[in-house]
Amino acid sequence: MSTREKRGRLKDDRPVLMQGTLDVLILRTLLFGAEHGQGIARAIQQTSEGEFLVEHGALYPALQRLEAQKLVSAKWGTSANNRRARYYTLTRHGRDHLTRQSSRWRRLAAAMARVLGPEPERG
């Protein structure tokens, strides 16, 4: 059932997130300070202009993985409007990881852009 559901949504034109992409996006978001899951989801959606992150729920396996790898640490806290939320913070290890990954992604993106050339004019 679940697979079929996923496939249905993928008719959507938005790009499929590659493994590891979401991790970098999360880490990047946390660079500006501790944030809870909903805040991270919002931030990713806003900065990527709605291109990424179809479901907020999809964020959590990635958060769990990052936590297990000790790239982020988590603590329950209180949000601005006085609601309990679990806050994620970038660890030092996570910061180093992000630096490495960002430069990798930039090189990859630049290389892809060079190969693909400028966007063709339509029509």
Binding site: Q38, R42, G57, Y60, Q64, K70
Partner: protein
């Protein structure tokens, strides 16, 4: 990683907080509250799925699932006790046999002695191209003890058989530091120490104490009568300690400084000194130990690991691997059987598996579930196998001691064979490996099935499953052919060896060997025996037949073709006692024996080789290399001998090597330096017993322990015993494999019958005679058996061909066509038996009933 697991509730709270935060955000953006909450939930996706994924990703879920699997497997197995019992017992049979084999290997090779720090014990020896030395005279032992730069301690010990009131005692004479170096655990009393040197005291092993004194602690303080005089028992060691050799001792006595006998030396290496380094630094010492004419650079000091009864080596493993292969094959046959039963069961469980698959269980999970069932069976079988192995080992020892020739049985001691951690680990590993063999294939098969048909209750007779089952039966037949062929080769060789014509008569002849190198006793013993009214005839010789042989290069005088030739010094009575006829010429005269005349009697093979087509009488033999390693075995002074007679060929050494390829007999009398042994023929009506002989020796003031009296008949039995025992083990393994393949074949046929019941019913309704139906099943059975036999014969032939090229024993034929033919016959017969009952049942299929059931 934190060791506390984050709870599912904590994660659920996070999800809730996320959705609420999102909803509040949307309300802030101006959405009405109801719509905002719905949109927030939508944006999150399925919260349930998120929670499930969280749960499954947690570290402990596999344990949870494993527990589930085990509980489920246990319930399923309990529901079918017949299946459980047969599979567990089948596997346990195979596992226990392999475990027994491993226990023996463990006891003799892997298991360290029950002493302090066995890993650094090394036996000292030297080796040169012409000779090796394993014992050292007292002064050399002292010199070794002084090498504190290499060794922490050097202990010396030796080994001999003694008699105590007619019962054999294995005695070790030990140095004063033996017990303080090895520190075995004592049950009672005290160990021996340096102050005991020369004293009449002894330490006894628990089981010997029980045997000789009727109780282990009861032995303490008692006197044990040895032929050399009584010793007082001062200590009792536990059975776990039997010395530091592969032959356990009964009794340890302190060395007598006055006796000054050569001893074996065992050293504990100093920490930081490697055996290689120690060997290098002992080279100069070793060179002095070797015979004087050996160039010192050819002599090496050797340090043999002495922490276990036998050092583990590649050669040893290579030698034993065929034995282990045979035992593993039986386990394999058992696995195939269980695998077959599991395949059949998986088919009847198709519906259950289909339901679980359609409810969303992944294929991996189903395979894991079925493997868990297999593992559970294997673990139960492993436990049963360990219990069975203990019993089998005990039974094997009883059989061994019951069937060995009495003389050997009285001397033989077996190292303790406890089921230690290594055996447990081995049995567990074997059970685990067996699970993969027998459970993986059925599990993969079962999980790969079309759902729809199975759910509707159709038992799709999947062709791939039938093929798999047939292949398994074929493999089983092949395995049993290999084992049956091996068993029959062994059994037939044993039979032919017992029938082997030795070329002399062993009836009513006793061999007396003098232990050690000292042959001063031969003459007085010969005189004593000659005067004994119970004795008909006595002969002296340099070596009794079936015991030892000596050979040096010889040639026919005038020829240059040297060939290694066996020689034996014999007194004239030798030939008459053994009923060896002189076919040409004459026997030795008494004068020739007394004077050690340079004459010879040759065997027919030597006569043929040296003077083909000519009369050898009066010819001369030239004997080369008059420099023997040991003085007593020498043949120096015998450069030329003249042939006076010819005798038929006989077997002198090992029976498996067959009749001598050459033999030269030289005359000798009891006073000669070359004699080492005697042959005695008692009068037919006398009450001659070896024990009486020993009594006489003692009265003359000799130590009877130096003599080894055994009848030639018993020696003959002793020589054939290994092959006899091997053929028993082979027949046991072959028989079990055969029984397994019969039951495997039977199972497949019964299953085929059940599957094709409908077809058979229709055929019979259409008028097919019962014979045709029987033929149908018989044909299936015959096809599988034939393929299995063909494969098995191919494998056996290849294996035995390989063995044949290695073995050079003339009285043994490895590629025995008779054994191959008999094995094929036996397996065919067995397959017929397996097919008979299912075929009979097939003819009783009631066509009317089957057709009704169809409607």
């Amino acid at each position: 990683m934190d060791w506390r697991r984050r709870s599912d509730e904590d994660f659920a709270a996070e999800v809730d907080s996320h959705i609420q935060l999102e909803a509040e955000r949307l309300i802030e953006d101006g959405m009405p509250p109801d719509a905002a909450r719905a949109a927030a939930a939508r944006a999150f996706g399925s919260a349930t799925r998120a929670r499930e994924r969280f749960h499954e990703r947690s570290r402990w879920v596999w344990i949870e699932q494993a527990v589930q699997d085990v509980r489920y497997a246990w319930r399923t197995l309990r529901a079918n006790p017949a299946f459980l019992t047969t599979t567990v017992l089948t596997l346990a049979t195979g596992l226990s046999l392999l475990t027994v084999a491993f226990s023996v290997f463990n006891a003799y090779v892997l298991r360290p002695f029950a002493v302090a720090d066995p890993g650094r014990l090394y036996r000292l020896a030297w080796s040169a191209p012409s000779a090796v030395g394993r014992t050292f005279p007292p002064r050399a032992c002292d010199e070794l003890r002084a090498r504190t730069d290499l060794f922490d301690a050097v202990l010396t010990h030796d080994f001999r058989f003694a008699l105590s009131n007619g019962r054999t005692v294995v005695v070790s004479t030990v140095s004063g530091n033996y017990f303080s170096t090895l520190r075995p655990r004592l049950l009672a009393g005290r160990p021996l120490d340096a102050a005991d040197a020369g004293q009449k005291v002894a330490v006894i092993r628990q089981q010997a104490a029980t045997r000789l004194f009727g109780g282990d602690r009861a032995a303490l303080g008692r006197a044990l009568e040895l032929e050399a005089g009584p010793v007082t028992i001062v200590g009792v060691v536990r059975d776990e300690f039997g010395g530091i050799d592969d032959f356990p001792r009964d009794l340890w006595v302190p060395e007598d400084p006055a006796a000054a006998r050569p001893m074996q030396a065992v050293a504990r290496l100093r920490a930081g000194v490697s055996p290689v380094e120690a060997a290098l630094r002992l080279q100069e010492f070793a060179a002095r130990m070797a015979p004087p004419d050996t160039p010192s650079r050819d002599v090496r000091a050797v340090l043999v690991p002495n922490g276990t009864p036998n050092p583990l080596s590649i050669e040893l493993v290579a030698m034993l691997s065929p034995v282990f292969a045979a035992f593993t094959l039986v386990l394999l046959a058992a696995c195939i059987n269980v695998s077959n039963v599991m395949l059949a069961r998986a088919l009847t469980r198709q519906r259950e598996i289909a339901v679980r698959l359609s409810l969303g269980a992944s294929r991996a999970r189903i395979v894991r579930q079925l493997l868990t069932e297999g593992l559970l069976v294997a673990v139960l079988a492993g436990a049963a196998a360990l219990a069975l192995a203990v019993w089998l080992l005990r039974a094997a020892l009883v059989v061994l001691f019951g069937t060995l020739p009495p003389f050997v049985a009285s001397l033989l001691r077996i190292v303790p064979m406890p089921l230690d951690a290594r055996v447990f680990l081995f049995a567990f590993a074997a059970a685990l490996a067996a699970t993969l063999v027998f459970a993986l294939m059925p599990a993969l098969q079962a999980s790969r099935q079309p759902l729809t048909g199975a759910l509707r209750g159709q038992r799709a007779g999947q062709p791939s499953t039938s093929r798999a089952r047939n292949a398994l039966v074929v493999a089983q037949v092949a395995v049993s052919i290999v084992l049956v062929v091996t068993a029959l080769v062994l059994a037939r060789n044993f039979a032919s060896l017992t029938r082997l014509d030795l070329g002399f008569s062993t009836a009513n002849v006793y061999s007396i060997n003098v232990r050690g190198d000292d042959n001063r006793f031969v003459r007085p013993i010969a005189d004593l025996l000659a005067a004994d009214p119970r004795v008909a005839s006595v002969a002296v010789t340099s070596g009794n037949p079936l015991f030892v042989t000596h050979a040096v290069p010889m040639r026919a005088d005038g020829s240059s073709a040297l060939s290694p030739t066996m020689y034996t010094f014999v007194s004239p009575e030798f030939l008459s006692i053994l009923r060896i006829p002189v076919t040409r010429g004459r026997t030795f005269s008494a004068a020739e024996a007394r004077l050690a005349a340079r004459v010879a009697i040759v065997s027919e093979s030597t006569a043929r080789a040296f003077w083909p087509g000519r009369d050898p009488i009066g010819e001369t033999i030239a004997i080369e290399r008059p420099a023997p390693p040991r003085q007593n075995e020498g043949i120096d002074g015998y450069a030329r001998v003249t042939v006076v007679g010819v005798v038929p060929d006989k077997v002198s050494g090992l029976m498996v090597e067959g009749a001598d390829r050459s033999h030269v007999y030289l005359p000798v009398s009891a006073a000669d330096v070359h004699v080492q042994a005697l042959l005695v023929q008692p009068r037919a009506s006398s009450d001659f017993r070896p024990e009486l002989l020993r009594e006489s020796f003692r009265r003359l003031g000799f130590d009877p322990e130096l003599l080894e009296v055994i009848s030639l008949d018993e020696m003959r039995m002793t020589q054939t015993y290994p092959l006899r025992a091997a053929s028993w083990v082979g027949l046991l393994l072959g028989g079990i494999a055969l029984a397994l393949s019969v039951s495997g074949l039977y199972g497949v046929l019964v299953y085929t019958l059940a599957q094709r019941r409908r077809e058979i019913g229709i055929r019979m309704a259409l008028g097919a005679p019962a014979a045709a139906v029987v033929r149908l099943l018989m044909r299936q059975s015959a096809r599988m058996t034939a393929v299995g036999i063909a494969i098995g014969l191919g494998i056996s032939f290849a294996l035995l061909k390989m063995l044949d090229s290695v073995i050079e024993l003339r009285a043994v034929s490895v590629l025995d066509p008779g054994a191959f033919a008999a094995a094929v016959l036996v397996v065919l017969l067995a397959s017929f038996v397996a097919a008979y009952y299912p075929s009979r049942r097939a003819t009783r299929v009631d066509p009317a009933e089957t057709l009704r059931a169809e409607a």
